[in-house]
Amino acid sequence: MERKNTFVLAAQVAAELYFATKVALQLSLTAKNAHAISARAGQQSAGFRAITSYIEELAENTITYAQAINREAMAVAMLAGQRERATRALTQFHRVQASAADAAFVHTLDAPCRTTAARQQSIDQEFSARLKKLSSQLQDAQQQIRAAAIIASTSKIEATQAGSFQPQLEVIAENITLSSDEIRAHLKTAQQLLNSATENLAKGYH
């Protein structure tokens, strides 16, 4: 498989989280809708109403997590871009040292070479730390969304008890399932991309 640059991978992680945020916003609207319907349904949907606050909380938490991860992923992508530039400069400096070895002042390139190599190393360290943080944030978000599966099945059961409001609440329960599945898929893709980025780093690719 073609190896992707880390800054491309990080930007893709950010994009996945952006999509997850959008779905979570939909989920939040679904929860508000569910709250309104179950309020109208009164006693018939007491069970359903109790879980709407969980759905809202879940959606809000997912948005918060996804936005934080998105920011972190963008920071990693920026850092990878800086690393790419430092690497490119270093490659060019080495080319000059080889092609102009006899130039009177070629030794004056030694200092920029050292500085750029040090910058590259410092970026690598920050890079590694940020990838770890990103991975941990992603795992937290995935943990969070697992709870959605439970809420989705509970809401389906509760919808069947809601009398005349059953069809509306069943649609809502289905929306919760679809939204949480979609968020889970985006998080999973993000995790896979992140794993590739971490493998890149371990192999010394960027």
Binding site: R85, R88, A89, Q92, R95, A103, A104, F105, L109, P112
Partner: protein, 245 residues
């Protein structure tokens, strides 16, 4: 990359870099110039990113890296300054003198360390090793924010795209037959220069300068009477011709 000393005055020395035989054929050939004075150097239109390594190698044959304190970009084009992101790593203490108009755009080439010194529309002076050279306005020739560099000590005008010609990488450095040379310049000036009014303003301004050498960014250098011939030819040429008549 070939290096040629163009002229040495009592205060400045001009070097011309170009005619790189290793350059990709699809990349337009460019002339780079460096003014040396008082142990310091100013690099004019450092070139594109593809040219960085041969350019830096050529510079290091002439001056230590620390002596190169100033860069000048006549305008924002990639063949002028897309190497900036790499110079930024090589010369973190340097200054880039470029049109104020293009600052927000030129920074897209990557500039974390170099200090951007915006040149106001009316031009100004740039000091190299304590010696002043002048930034001459050349707006709309071809870029909307554009400057040329005039060195009154060596009587050289670095004229950017004005006087440019598209020709082979092994073309001679100097114009030797002005009339024949016009055929290599005509399309370039008619197509890339958008304004007859801007053209005339520049000609009026430049005619007041004492110029021995006019050094464009592409093609050959004009010397002596060919400078005057060029101004007359350019004055008579209608530019901005790509719009439907």
């Amino acid at each position: 990359m070939k290096t040629k000393t163009l002229v040495t005055s009592d205060k400045t020395r001009w070097l011309m870099f170009g005619r790189d035989p290793d350059k990709d054929q699809q990349i337009i050939d460019t002339n780079q110039y460096m003014i040396m004075a008082g142990g310091k150097a100013l690099l004019l239109d450092p070139g594109g990113i593809e040219l960085f390594a041969p350019m830096l190698a050529a510079v290091l044959r002439e001056v230590p890296l620390a002596a190169l304190e100033d860069l000048f970009a006549s305008h924002q084009d990639p063949d002028i300054i897309s190497s900036l992101g790499l110079w930024d790593q090589a010369l973190p203490e340097a200054r880039l003198h470029a049109p104020w108009l293009w600052e927000g755009f030129i920074r897209h080439f990557g500039m974390n360390h170099i200090d951007y010194r915006p040149i106001p529309d009316e031009g100004g002076v740039i000091k190299v090793g304590g010696v002043e050279v002048q930034a001459i306005p050349a707006h709309y020739l071809h870029s909307s924010g554009n400057f040329h560099i005039y060195d009154p000590h060596a009587k050289v005008l670095m004229s950017g795209d004005v006087g440019a010609a598209l020709e082979a990488v092994n073309a001679p450095l100097f114009v030797d037959d002005f009339t024949a040379h016009t055929s290599k310049m005509k399309m370039f000036h008619q197509r890339w220069m958008p304004s007859n009014r801007a053209k005339q303003d520049w000609i009026d301004r430049v005619r007041k300068l004492d110029i021995e050498l006019m050094a464009p960014q592409h093609g050959r250098v004009f010397k002596g009477d060919d400078v005057k011939r060029f101004l007359d030819w350019f004055e008579a040429l209608e530019v901005g011709v790509a719009i439907a008549r």
